[in-house]
């Protein structure tokens, strides 16, 4: 049995968000920020009219990486840190099919930190959604590269995290992502807007979602975020989204909520630009060589004649 001759990527009749959810009950703790994310993602799949049998949701390991199991879509719940290259393989083998990565901040920037930059610099046509809770929660509270200074963790001393958190927004712009945004898992509307934009974006899109862990991160909580969250695109703090220098500067200035208690917490789009996606370049190569799926075996074997 072969793959069907015609593949439907989109449904003709729109589905509801709940149609993109599996019947498995999530194992997340009550109050976990990731509930908001899975809901927003299902809604965004519905908005994009994805056929549930066309889209692939890829994750690594961690609390948030369970997400594909709660979705009615194709899913790969892969190994810790490896979601991005698994997704690249799925994308390059069937470039017409949408691929979305849903991982945690530890998965993406600690163990998987060597992969994300290559997907970004090559402008792979895919979306990476990071559920940022600032902790390794599944292993019961160790600090991550995005944890704020002093945050408690079981592998830290009583003084907490010694490091300054890295700035994922600045990093992703540097890496070459062509859509970079931050949103907040308690703001379904903003999350929906940003995720939809990311899914529709032709190129590598990165969405950092502040998604509190009520069990282990007692600092970056919903209560902490609520009064501090503001939309930098709405306030006018950042509107020149297509300018890389401005985006770099704004991401350095505005992504500052980890640094002081009074600092506001920005959400919004930092960078959005159109560039050729990787597979378009692959297609150019294929055109250059007149690549065919129906090989002339005699001509191929002739190449190895003595």
């Amino acid at each position: 049995m072969a793959l069907p001759a015609t593949i439907n990527i989109h449904v003709t009749e729109p589905l509801k968000a709940k149609d993109y959810r599996s019947d498995i009950t999530p194992t997340w703790c009550p109050g976990c920020g990731d509930f908001g994310v899975v809901g927003a993602l299902a809604k965004a799949y519905a908005d994009q009219k994805y056929d549930p049998s066309a889209v692939t949701t890829v994750s690594g390991i961690g609390c948030s990486s369970r997400l594909p199991l709660w979705m009615n879509s194709f899913g790969i719940h892969s190994c810790h840190g490896r979601a991005v290259p698994v997704a690249i393989g799925a994308h390059l083998a069937r470039p017409e099919m949408p691929v979305v990565v849903t991982i945690g901040d530890g998965d993406c920037f600690a163990i998987g930190g060597g992969h994300i930059m290559h997907a970004a610099r090559r402008n792979m046509n895919m979306t990476v959604i990071v559920m940022d809770n600032g902790t390794f929660a599944l292993t019961k509270n160790q600090t991550s590269p995005l944890s704020r200074t002093g945050l408690p963790g079981t592998l830290a001393s009583d003084l907490g995290n010694l490091d300054e958190p890295m700035n994922p927004i600045e990093m992703m712009i540097t890496y070459g992502a062509t859509y970079v945004a931050q949103t907040y898992s308690a703001n379904a509307k903003h999350m929906g807007k940003v995720i939809n934009e990311a899914l529709a974006h032709q190129g590598f899109s990165y969405v950092n979602i502040l998604s509190p862990c009520p069990t282990y991160n007692k600092v970056d909580t919903f209560a902490y975020f609520r009064p501090r969250i503001h939309d930098i695109n709405e306030t006018g703090e950042h509107t020149d989204l297509g300018n890389r220098s401005t985006a770099m500067l704004k991401s350095a200035e505005l992504y500052n909520h980890h640094h002081s208690d009074d600092a506001p917490v920005p959400v919004g789009v930092y960078y959005k630009v159109q560039k050729p996606v990787f597979f378009e370049k692959v297609k150019q190569v294929q055109k250059y060589y007149n690549v065919t799926d129906t090989p002339d075996w005699n001509a191929i074997f002739d190449r190895f004649k003595p």
Binding site: M1, I24, G89, A93, D293
Partner: protein, 588 residues
Amino acid sequence: MAIDLTIKVAGEGGEGVISSGDFIMQAATRAGMEVMTFKSFPAEIKGGYALSQVRISDEKILSQGDGFNILVAFNGEAYEVNKPLLIPGTIMVWDGPHGGDFEPEEHEGVQVFAVPMSDIAKNQLKNYIAKNMVAMGAVIELFGLPEESLKSSIHDKFIKKGQDIVDFNYKAIELGREWIRTNYPNRKVAHSFPASTRQKDVIILEGNQAISLGAVMGGAKFYGAYPITPATSVGNHLVDLMHHTGGVVYQTEDEISALATVIGASFTGKKALTATAGPGISLMQELIGLAIMSEVPIVVADVQRGGPSTGMPTKHDQSDLFACTLGSHGDAPRIVLAAADVKDCVYLTIDALNLAEQYQSPVMLLSDASLSIQTEAIPRPDMSKIKLVERNFAAPQPDPSVFNRYQITDSGVSPMGAPGIPGTNYAATGLEHAEDSGPRTNTETRNAMTEKRWRKFDGIEDAYTPIEREGEDGDDLGIICWGMTQSVTREAISRLRAQGHKVSALYPKMLWPMPQKQIEAFARSVKKVVVPEANYQGQFADLIKMRTNVVPIKFNAYRGEPLIPKEIENMALALLKEDAPKARIAIH
């Protein structure tokens, strides 16, 4: 009597040693001769000792043989290294009597021809790079390789650079020939090339090229590539081949991502593979486990090199067998195949892609550093005779919530969904899971799924049978071997049996799951069993001990070079004696 001639070109890496061997090999094949090459060079780009050895015959060649008849020594180091091998009856062509960097001693019974290849290149051709062409001119004049076949090979290689480059090389060849004609007018050489015949319908491939060709013949459409010696050229060749067959070669950021992309690609329904070597195999172990657990078909070719760690990247070793059969944590079944020669590299790669689909499993294909660059002429493949196993895709389902990707079946293999097949969506997970792919850890599911993953391979020994036996029941000694050691053993066996010794051999291509029944039956049919292999521990011997009732004698070399037929022959003769060793023999 067959003509069996081995010519060894040795010198400093980067001065045309390897290309000389390649030209002689190609010219001999064009002249209708059988050829096999052996090459060895250091891991560095320039400098160090390099050799290229071409065995030429008018009959089928089984292995690289024991040594050489003709040595072409480009420098003093090459001479020093090979001096002990200059036995009576051999011939040496060396860089002299002036212009070279050494002066050879007297060797009794060795015929010596001085050809000032460096001097002619530097002073007459004004280009040192032509040294190897001068040497080849001398070689064809001395040993009777048809000039036109060498010239046509040179033409085809250099015409892209222009006719003047071709003519320059022709001139170098002629100067080498002229030197021999002028200085050795009355020579009589002890060896010569076989007579030229009609060129056979063959293709010439080196081992890694053969894996690449097998990959596209087997229907692979994706290759995850990360450079590592000695596996890199599998990807190099595939870049080119996939331009003619469709597919993508994607260079990743490391070996982990190479395999990750392969798993992602295969998940979507495309046949996918990667090739790597020892350190890459170590890095890939976790993802091999993911493919086992989520039952995604993948092929990983391991072109073995000397380990552990960085080890000896360009040298022969058969020491990744444990890592490929037993690596990755947990109860992790997979298939392991091993190629003995270039033909195997083509057809076992096709088999590997087929078996991966049939069993929805990782298949490891073992080659090695020597085989990766061993060149052979093999019969032109016939695509009409190649049977491909296509994926067992699930039929479209009315309701995805009832699709059981991991349905418990008698065979252990279940229909696979893929993006685009309505209602077949599921989440492939490395977690233990139930039939519907949802995570589950209860005892009943765990038992059923573990047994399913292993049950897939219950009948594989009867279903996939590329195993061959030489010799007869009741023989005094039985040799079981794998990978490149098989081709060496074939030659040793033919000599031993010609001498009247009762020695059998068993040549399995699938090493894992262990072909238990056939190994036990073979062991019962002979008086004792030995396993020669190029590793210290006797890895295949240990696996046989672990999974069968056979306790083989071990015969091990781990010096970084393949065993040679003479060593297998001597091993057998020693084991045929009354007071033979019973456990382990190591040779240096």
